[in-house]
Structure formats: C-alpha cells, structure tokens
Symmetry: C2
Subunit: 150 residues, 2 copies
DNA sequence: TTGTCTGCAAAAGCTTTGCATGAAT
DNA sequence: ATTCATGCAAAGCTTTTGCAGACAA
C-alpha cells in the first residue's frame, strides 16, 4: 500500500512524506467515506506515531487542492472530507445516528439549471444535504415531527 | 415601530429590552434579508448605543427559537439570519458579489421525498444552496469555469 | 421586588499560521 | 545541498458562557 500512495502523491506534485502517506492510506482503506480532521487525526495517530493537527489540516487541504479529496460541511460546521473518486453526488444524513448516504439525482441537476435561469443566475454548483432519519432510527425512535426546515 | 416590536416580543414570551427591540426593528426595516451576527451588531450598534456581541448572539438565537428568525449557512461557515416570514424557500448565491436570491421549487420537495425513500431515509428537511453568478457579474466577469462542485 | 437581561471579558471549538527542526529529493 | 514539510504552540475567527450590575414587569 505504501508504494501506491507514494507514487500517487508524487504524481500530484507532493513529496511522499509519512503524514501524507498515512492520511491517504487511511482514506483508501476505510469502508466509511466521511471524516472530519479530528477523525483523521485520531485514527492516523493511534499507532504510536504522532501527527499534529496542523499537519493534518495542511495535508487535507493539499489533498483537496490536488483533487484527491473533496471537502464540505454536512452535520455541523466541521469540515468533512471524502475521497474524490466515483461520480458526483449529494448526501443524506440521519439526524439521529449520523449515518450518511450518498445519492445522485439527475432531476436536481436539471432543475437547478432552470431555477438559476429563472432568477438570472448561471448556476455552477450546489450544496445539498437532505436531513432525515434512516431505517434503523425510524424503527427505534420514530419521531417524524418537524425538526428541520421543509 | 417601537410599540410593534415590543408587543411582538412579549407575544413570544420575551421581555421588551432595548437590544431585542433594536435587532427586531433592524430586520423588519431592512430591504436586504440576510445578515450575519456581525452584520447585525455593526448596524444596530452604530447609533451611539453599545450592544455587545454576546447579547447579539443571545438575542438572535432566542429569535430563532421563537420562530421570528430562521438561521442557516450560505457563504462561509458564518451563521446567516433572516426573517421567518413568507413561504419556505431555498437560496442561490452569487459567488462573485455575494448577491442572494430566494426561490421555491416544488420539484425539489417532491424529489427529496422520493430520493429519501430510495436510500431508506425519512427526509424531514434539507439544506440547499445553489452557487453561481448573477446577471450583473456574468456581464462584467463571465468566468463560468468549474469553480464549484457539480 | 423579583426574575430576567445586558455588557464585559474570558473561554470554547475548529482551523490556520509562524517558526525552528527535520526529512525528501 | 536545497527545498519543502513537520511538530509545536500560539493566534485567528466565530460563537458561547459566567458573572455582577442593571433593567423590565
């Protein structure tokens, strides 16, 4: 795994340092896809290796610039990072357990262009997060009152 | 104007204090609709009256709780507040000048429910911001390269 | 009077940055 | 050897909170 990530790093013009390789390996290995800087720092540093918060933030931002990662905000104001592989998508987040589902809907793409035109905007992107309750949380605590907007 | 806001405040169970009346009056008077706490503090305090940041934040949050205001994040990570009047809507923001347009689209409402079902979520709300360029900025600096996601 | 609110200032939470040491090429 | 990256710690920025004095009812 080390060789792969080292080459990938050099490919995008970054030196193959330990923190960078650890962070990239972490994203490539995990089943989960969405992590905050704190998540990454905790997971990457636990193996007796100390990697500072400053480096984590710097590396994550460099990876976003290099299109290795994408960043955004989902739950709170914390920045969430995910691998920039696979197709464009939006997110649905469970307000009870935090579970995140990704989805892609062509209807949104089409409508956002039309809506932009109706208000005189050339739309080039969007930030869309659906808030709700996943199957499991609906079963255990079905409380579909109106918590959020919409 | 003072009488109105004082009564409105008491109606929602809040004492009619100077900071609260000033803040509410500010939102009611302005043509613009979207303000950060810093915006409000700057605008409300300039008239020789000193209102602290602490109070601004407390009052804004109380107004959100009382359904007088709505809050969310549009541009940055700063919280943006708007009057909770008129219908539900989403926002389009110009990435060049910051201009904000509000819109409502029933297609989104319908689709978000269907999408939720397809991933097993009961969707109760959403956070949607379209990013683009307004008419004016398209005219002066038409640079529709791919800055943002989508 | 009584309970609430304010201004001040300090703290909290997340992220960024300066700097000297240390590592990659 | 040179250039760049790291760890540490301090600062930045937005928002929250504790507290004593002040105000609304």
């Amino acid at each position: 795994m080390s060789i792969d990530v080292a080459e990938e790093l050099r490919r995008v013009g970054l030196r193959a340092t330990v923190p960078r390789m650890k962070v990239l390996s972490f994203f490539l290995d995990e089943q989960q896809r969405h992590f905050t800087a704190e998540d990454v720092c905790r997971q990457v540093a636990d193996e007796k290796l100390n990697i500072s918060f400053g480096s984590i933030y710097r590396v994550l931002q460099q990876f976003v610039d290099a299109k290795i990662l994408r960043s955004g905000t989902l739950h709170s104001t914390k920045i969430v990072y995910e691998l920039n592989n696979g197709p464009e998508h939006d997110h649905a987040i469970c307000m009870s357990c935090g579970k995140i589902e990704e989805f892609y809907d062509p209807v949104f793409d089409a409508r956002q262009k039309e809506i932009g035109e109706s208000v005189g905007f050339l739309v080039v992107g969007r930030q869309l997060v659906l808030q709700g309750y996943c199957v499991k949380c609906r079963a255990t605590a079905p409380k579909p009152t109106d918590n959020a907007k919409g």
